[in-house]
Symmetry: C2
DNA sequence: ATAGGGCCTGTAGTTAGTACAGGTGCAAGA
DNA sequence: TCTTGCACCTGTACTAACTACAGGCCCTAT
């Protein structure tokens, strides 16, 4: 009769399905120190409570917004009560915005260049391809 | 008297400096099959001729434009005379432009979100940080 | 003669996961 | 009751595109 005293909570696969993340990603976040070690059933299966699901969603959202695992450790320390202030979080967000803007700028330049060289391409069988030629010219 | 019959060409370090790429990257491109095995001095040092420098610049430029190593293999096959036609190169470039455009779109959304949440941040010492709060809400 | 630097090799580390092999337990169908 | 199949467990290897490092060799300058 021991072993199933109403083990409430989600197993790893259920949590993965609910949050839309890959099964193994959850275990990865655990070893990376972002997710706490969860409770286990008698069989050793991980059991997650709603607070842990909330935390995982937070992590996934921050990753979506481009924060690195290392940055997330900082954010989570703040959440967990010790560590940096809100000002530090703000600074991280600002730095992040700056790097996103520079990525956008670079990608736009890149797009322009690619469009220029590809419109010159006659889409033919010519042995000298204008795209190839363009790539030979330095940026 | 053997060993220095005017070994013309660049050594690996010189080529790296001239092209602005990392020393080890050149060796990496060699093992990856993008750069040919270069000539060697009697001491076994790699010696690059201008054609090889040209090829390296081509590779670096294409990488800058976001082509993957695998895509580069296709481009280089074309250059080397066998393989796909100019039309294939055009298709690769077009696919590339599409993926760049979608990256730009995503980054813009992301920037907007981050700006929104960070402007709400009072940059204070408040225990509940609006950025953290915003991250807890799903996208 | 020796100290420094550049080069050589093979291998391991990086980021953020994903995939896989081999094993255990649980629950339902035949 | 058996058994089949799935979900889960673990550790490890793989991905992209490099970068870094350890341990040696050789060349040049002092």
């Amino acid at each position: 009769m021991a072993g199933h005293r109403s083990e409430r909570g989600l197993k790893r696969g259920e949590l993965a399905r609910r949050t839309g993340c890959h099964l193994e990603t959850i275990r990865y976040y655990e070893t990376a120190g972002l997710m706490p070690e969860p409770a286990r059933t008698d069989a050793g299966h991980r059991i997650y409570d709603p607070e842990q699901e909330r935390r995982l969603r937070f992590i996934l959202r921050a990753r979506e917004l481009g924060f690195t695992i290392e940055e997330l450790k900082g954010l989570l320390k703040l959440i967990d009560g010790d560590g940096p202030s809100c000002g530090d979080v703000y600074d991280m967000a600002e730095a992040h915005i700056a790097s996103i803007r520079s990525k956008i700028t670079d990608l736009k330049k890149l797009e322009k260049t690619l469009v220029e060289i590809s419109t010159e391409c006659a889409r033919g069988e010519a042995p000298d391809c204008p795209i190839i030629d363009a790539l030979y010219e330095s940026a």
